[in-house]
């Protein structure tokens, strides 16, 4: 089992400034799954009831001189502490820029190693960052879990495949920052959030407790997938009435999620996505958030990066 690669400048920027801070908010521990073509950061895919998150990079987006080999079709996966990874990368980068002379003179190598820790008799696996300075080399070892076994890896791949299904209707959130500040404030009022999404491009969210009902409705959003024209006589209704009528008509789906999960998914604004879409999976299985990234300086989707998460549904909802 071998893995060795050089991080590109773009890769360093993506990880250090954008993705690792965002992934750290999602959860302390994630799986890093490396294949011949992709590097994937996975949260909560194998265990549990939290938000499932998948951040996938094509090899060229992060690395060059990429070498991977394993007896399991050159696939390697292990668990790693995101904040440690971020810290190691940050300090390696600072050394690189401090002593670097020229863009290619100083490169950041990342590799998988087994070492004997100082107070242990058993060798442990590490992800090692190696930076060559002017007169010195700095090596940072980030401890990782034992690589996943063939069976575990199969399980991870199955879960990953299952997490790829697209909701039939997706609506684009207009302003991620605004939505985030709203949801952050909404958190104080209650724990459960009803989310409904219509084929007309309406996103309706509501917290309801015995003392208060607090909601927000965003209308006329861009729709991808199944869409329909909003009935004209809905215009003068309240937001609640509008969305429940749309659900009855079969033009909307509604699910209940945890406000905390919803707020957490919005932390992905740290990765600086160019747009975000919300959708409800068939049968109300989960609330899916898909983030898109553009090729810098264009409005064209950057297909080498993909990021999405799936919020567990607490109640199957009314659909």
């Amino acid at each position: 089992m071998k893995f060795k690669a050089f991080l590109t400048e773009n890769g360093v920027n993506l990880l250090e400034k954008r993705f690792l801070p965002a992934l750290d908010k999602m959860g302390k521990i994630c799986h890093l799954y490396l294949t011949r073509d992709h590097s994937i950061f996975l949260h909560n895919l194998l265990n549990g009831d939290g938000i499932q998150s998948v951040a996938q990079f094509r090899r060229e987006a992060l690395f060059d001189d990429y070498r991977i080999s394993s007896q399991n079709e050159d696939r390697i996966a292990f668990a790693v502490d995101v904040s440690l990874l971020h810290r190691a990368l940050r300090s390696s980068v600072s050394i690189c820029t401090e002593f670097g002379n020229g863009p290619t003179a100083n490169r950041l190598q990342i590799k998988l190693v087994k070492k004997l820790p100082s107070n242990s008799t058993q060798p442990m696996p590490f992800l090692t960052f190696e930076t060559k300075g002017f007169k010195s080399a700095v090596i940072q070892d980030v401890p990782i879990s034992k690589p996943l076994s063939r069976a575990q890896l199969l399980e991870l791949q199955t879960a990953l495949d299952a997490a790829q299904d697209l909701p039939p209707t997706l609506v684009q959130v207009p302003d991620l920052n605004q939505l985030q500040s709203f949801v952050d404030r909404m958190k104080h009022v209650g724990d459960l959030l009803d989310v409904s999404i219509t084929k007309y491009g309406d996103l309706h969210m509501q917290i309801s407790t015995t003392l208060i009902t607090l909601g927000a409705e965003f209308r006329k959003l861009l729709v991808i997938g199944e869409q329909a024209d909003a009935p004209a006589d809905d215009r003068n209704l309240s937001a609640q009435a509008r969305s429940s009528r749309a659900v009855l008509r079969g033009d909307a789906q509604s699910v209940q999620v945890s406000v905390k999960h919803f707020a957490k998914s919005l932390c992905y604004y740290l990765a600086k996505p160019d747009c975000a879409f919300y959708g409800i999976a068939p049968q109300g299985a989960c609330l899916t958030v898909i983030f898109q990234f553009f090729i810098p300086g264009s409005r064209q989707m950057d297909k080498s990066i993909s990021l999405h998460c799936r919020l567990p549904v607490l109640d199957p909802g009314s659909s």
């Binding site: 404030r185 009022v189 003392l211 309240s238 937001a239």
Partner: protein, 301 residues
């Protein structure tokens, strides 16, 4: 008189406010506990929010009708209802978008006697809320506050807050003495050790802005109640620095008054009225009343 049919349709109150943050600030100033009940009183003059504790401490926030860009009150009486203050403030706060002036509409009552709020800025994005109200179980006390001898003392809000914060260390009970010669105000705490803070009018004119006193007045107040009068003043109000007034009334009743601006915060010309300055009527008044400790015998009143 309106018929009963229209009575059930039209709410008593419909009002719109274009600075939600100002209202949040004003109500935050009287939120000294996590779970607090407030009584809201509505009249043609405006909205009064009243919070009390153990009939020793009362706070009132006056939101006069002039603060609102629209204020329609259709009833004759003064409807009163109870809400959870924390929930009300948290809810209002969700309407306030940073860096964005937001206008809300408040209606009372809803079909189930709720307090209804909704944003009225945009057709394509809207926030709404319904807050359950209660019938208030107590009649809030009305003190008939009468000034006695020493009114009013005006401090800069930050000076008053700092002094009261510092008295946290001795804690328990604080004696406030106002005397004409030399003109000064003294806060003295005896608890775990003692601490005395003097504001001498002539030497601390930047902290104690206005002073008037005919004869010496001295009373003791429970520190936790005194603290509530300044502990939750939002930073924006302190920076605004409109001053805080402290008055000792008859029987030692202490009144602390703060002013909170509810003018539009945007830098656009809309906040400037035709006379070219900020509209002075767009100020919310906050008043705290603190009863003195009862075993008081040193009072000169």
């Amino acid at each position: 008189m309106e018929s009963s049919a229209t009575d059930s349709d039209a709410p008593d109150l419909v009002c719109q406010l274009d600075n939600v943050q100002g209202m949040v600030d004003a109500l935050t100033a009287v939120r000294w506990k996590r779970n607090q009940d407030a009584v809201i009183e509505i009249s043609e003059h405006g909205i009064v929010v009243i919070v009390e504790e153990m009939s020793c401490l009362q706070a009132k926030v006056y939101l006069q009708s002039e603060l609102f860009i629209r204020y329609e009150y259709g009833e004759q009486g003064r409807p009163r209802f109870g809400v959870s203050l924390g929930l009300f403030v948290d809810c209002l706060n969700t309407f306030s978008v940073p860096g964005h002036s937001s206008t809300i509409e408040i209606r009372y009552p809803g079909p189930d006697m709720q307090l209804l709020l909704k944003s009225v800025d945009s057709l394509d994005a809207g926030i709404y809320a319904e807050i359950r109200t209660r019938i208030p179980d107590t009649i809030s006390w009305d003190y008939n506050f009468e000034p006695a001898g020493s009114t009013p003392l005006t401090f800069t809000t930050s000076a008053l807050k700092e002094a009261i914060d510092d008295l946290d260390w001795p804690g328990s009970s604080i004696q406030i003495t106002v005397q004409p010669d030399p003109p000064s105000v003294t806060f003295r705490g005896d608890g775990h050790g003692d601490l005395q803070i003097d504001f001498v009018y002539y030497s601390n004119a930047d902290l104690l802005i206005a002073f008037h006193c005919d004869r010496q007045v001295s009373y003791r107040y429970k520190y936790k109640f005194l603290r509530a009068t300044t502990s939750n003043i939002p930073g924006s109000v302190i920076r605004d620095n409109r001053g805080s007034k402290l008055t000792i009334g008859r029987g030692g009743l202490l009144k602390v008054q703060h002013l909170v601006s509810v003018a539009r915060t945007s830098t656009s010309h809309q906040q400037i009225d035709s006379a070219g300055h900020q509209n002075p009527s767009r100020i919310a008044y906050i008043e705290f009343f603190v009863k003195p400790e009862e075993d008081e015998d040193t009072a000169d009143d």
